[in-house]
Each structure stands twice: as C-alpha cells, then as structure tokens.
Amino acid sequence: MKAKQTNDVKSGGNVLAKSMIFSLGLVLLFTLTTNLLPQMEGEAPVEQEVDLGSLTIESFVALGESLFTGKGTCSLCHNDLGRAPDILGFNMVEIAIEHLNDERYKGNATDAESYLHESLVDPGIYVVKGFGKKGSNDTISPMPAIHKPPVELSDIEINAVIAYLQAKDGNDVTVSLPAKVSATAVPSVEPTTPAGTVEEIITRYGCRACHKIAGSGGELGPGLEQVDTRLSPGKIRQSIIDPDVEITEGFSAGIMPGNFAEQMRVKELEMLVTFLAGTEVAGSEKPVKTSSTNARVTGNEAEKAIAQFGCQACHIISGSGGKLGPSLENVGARLDVDQIRQSIIEPNVVITEGFPSGVMPPNFAEQMSDAQLDALVNFLAEQKGG
C-alpha cells in the first residue's frame, strides 16, 4: 500500500460507491443500536379527572401513589440514590414531627399533615441537611413548588400525595377526602343534568358492577331484583346512603362506597328507591337503552358494554370512572389482549399491584355475549394512554 496505488487510475464512481456504502453501513449500525434498546414512550401527564363521587380513602391513597411516581415526578429524585431524601425509606409522619421540633424549622406547620403540605408547596421552608442547593448551605431547596409548573399538582392531588405518604407506613390518614364543593379545582366529569330515567341512574352510578338489577349485573353485592320483598323503601334508602349499617347476610361490609348520597341528587335517590321498592322480576325486560351521559353515543359495542356492566363504577375508562380498581386508561400499554381477556373472565388470577383481589365480580364472562367480550377486550387493548 505504498506509492504503487497512487499511480493507479481509479474511477471516481468506484470510490464514491465504496464510501457511500461505508457511510450507510455505519449509519445503519447506529440505527440498529437505538432499535435494540428498550422501547418506551414518555407520556405527557394526562389531566386526570378525579371522580370525587367514588373516592374512598383507599383509592385516594392509591391516587397519591400513582401521583408520586407519575405526574408528580417525586420518585425522580426521592429515591435511594441520594439526590433527595429517600421518602419511601422513611416513615414520613415520624420524620415530619422530628423536623417540626428541629430548631432550624421556621415554618407555620403544627402537625405532620400541615408539615407535609408545606414542604410540598414551599420546599424551601425547611431543607433537610445535606440536600440544599449547592453552595446555599441548606437554605435553598432544589425542589420545585409542587403546585406550580412544571409539576402543577392540584390541591386535591397534593392531598392525595399526603394521604399516600401517611398511609404507606401504616399511619392514620388525616387529610379529608375532597368534598364535592371543591370540584372547581378538578374539572368534574359528572353530568350536570340530573338523570332522566332509573336506567340512567343505575348506569351512571354503576350499580350493576356489583348488584344484579333487572336481569343483569354482578354478584359482589346482593341481587336487587326482589329487594322489595326483603326491605322497606326506608331500608332501601338507608342502604344506599349508609351501606354499612346493615349488611345482607353472606356479604361483607366496607365494599360499597359510602358516598353515593353525596353524589346523587335527591330526585335521583328517590327515583331509585321507588324503582327498587316496586321492581318486579323483570327477566325479559332487558335494559338495552344505554344512557348518553357516561358513554359517548357512538353506537360502539364496547362502550355499550362498559355502560351495561358498569365498569366505570370502579375503573377509569375514557377519562371518567372510579378508583376502586386500577385505571384502564392505558391498560393497553400494560397488558396484551389475552391478559385483558383473562382479567375480565377471571379477575382474581392476576391482580394489579396496589389493589385488593376478590373485589371484581368473577362472573362477567357468563353475563356477556362473546361479541361483547371481544369488543370490550379490543377496545381496552387500544387504551394506551393520552
């Protein structure tokens, strides 16, 4: 490879082709590297709409946990890598009391809850030793105020995070569940007009998720087809408003949400009580007409099924629903088609972390037609988030 080559007359095209092939090969190598790494998308946080009606302490805590790792981006720094105090490794209520008694503490908080709230919205009030901004001698916190951009948690969400921080180590949750009044902070998904028919009421509040009514529904709660033979209208009303006062034999307390009364309008409650008190064995009278409130009127088979079986009583689907079960908004990203199908047919085989087993009725498969099941599975498999 010495002077000999230089005398060769080489065709420019040959060199061009060779250098192009070389360059292209290199580029493809880089492309290959990127395609070999785990492929994941970073979703922008979706404006989660909290269904205030169906909130329980458990679901509120679960919301807090999902905010901690998700929208709140807390775990980005608060982990065991030493960037920020390892919140998951501490009992935060004890830590809060400890910090309140520290002479460096200059804030106005009086108890753990108010301390946690304060440290979320104004992190600079008390900076844990060693975690301040570099050069500030622990007087300035590197943490952003959580209710401001870029994180922007709402008041309800901040309370949910506090609830989670309290609950994760077995401490009492002292934050109060958001009342309906504060719904201005979070755009409510509740329809503003009262439901017109009993069927709409039943669909809207997802009664069929647990109760068999007029031929269809779950078996988690007692069937209500002949409830009038068991209970007086007054007892029925009480069972809706205060479900745990009297429990039908063979069923357990604490499963039915205790706040339906807050959600329902008086008219709706009365219509429902009247209906249940006077209902007959309506086996043939199939509730086909689905309401136009919760499910969008698309004629979509899946959405009909969701409304019919009251999935949204416990699951968030298409932006609305309860928190008793895991949100299904991005279930398509978590589970494949077969897993989704299994979770409907045999809900207790695989349980999403953080949720109890045995809550979802195991008999949906018997109630649904194959077409409905297929439509539902396909619909859910497409739910991959925002």
């Binding site: 060693g130 570099k134 050069g135 001698n137």
Partner: protein, 42 residues
C-alpha cells in the same frame, strides 16, 4: 549531576503534589472536605 532516579523521583513528586493540591482546591471550592483516610463522607 542528577541521576536518572533523582529525575524520576522529582518528576513524580511534582506531579503528585500538583494533583493533591488540585483535588483539595476543587473539593474545597465546592464546600466538600476530602477524606484521604477512606472514611465514607456523608
């Protein structure tokens, strides 16, 4: 005259002192002590 060994010793001493000083300077600039005794600094 200086021997080879002396030259090497001198060179390494200079380099070592320089870097030792540098490390101290840089760490102190950031307000961090430098623990040469290998005690984990927290």
């Amino acid at each position: 005259m200086t021997t080879n060994l002396q030259i090497w010793l001198a060179a390494f001493t200079i380099a070592f002192l320089y870097f030792y000083g540098l490390d101290h300077f840089i760490m102190s600039m950031q307000g961090l002590p430098i623990n040469m005794d290998f005690t984990p600094a927290q």
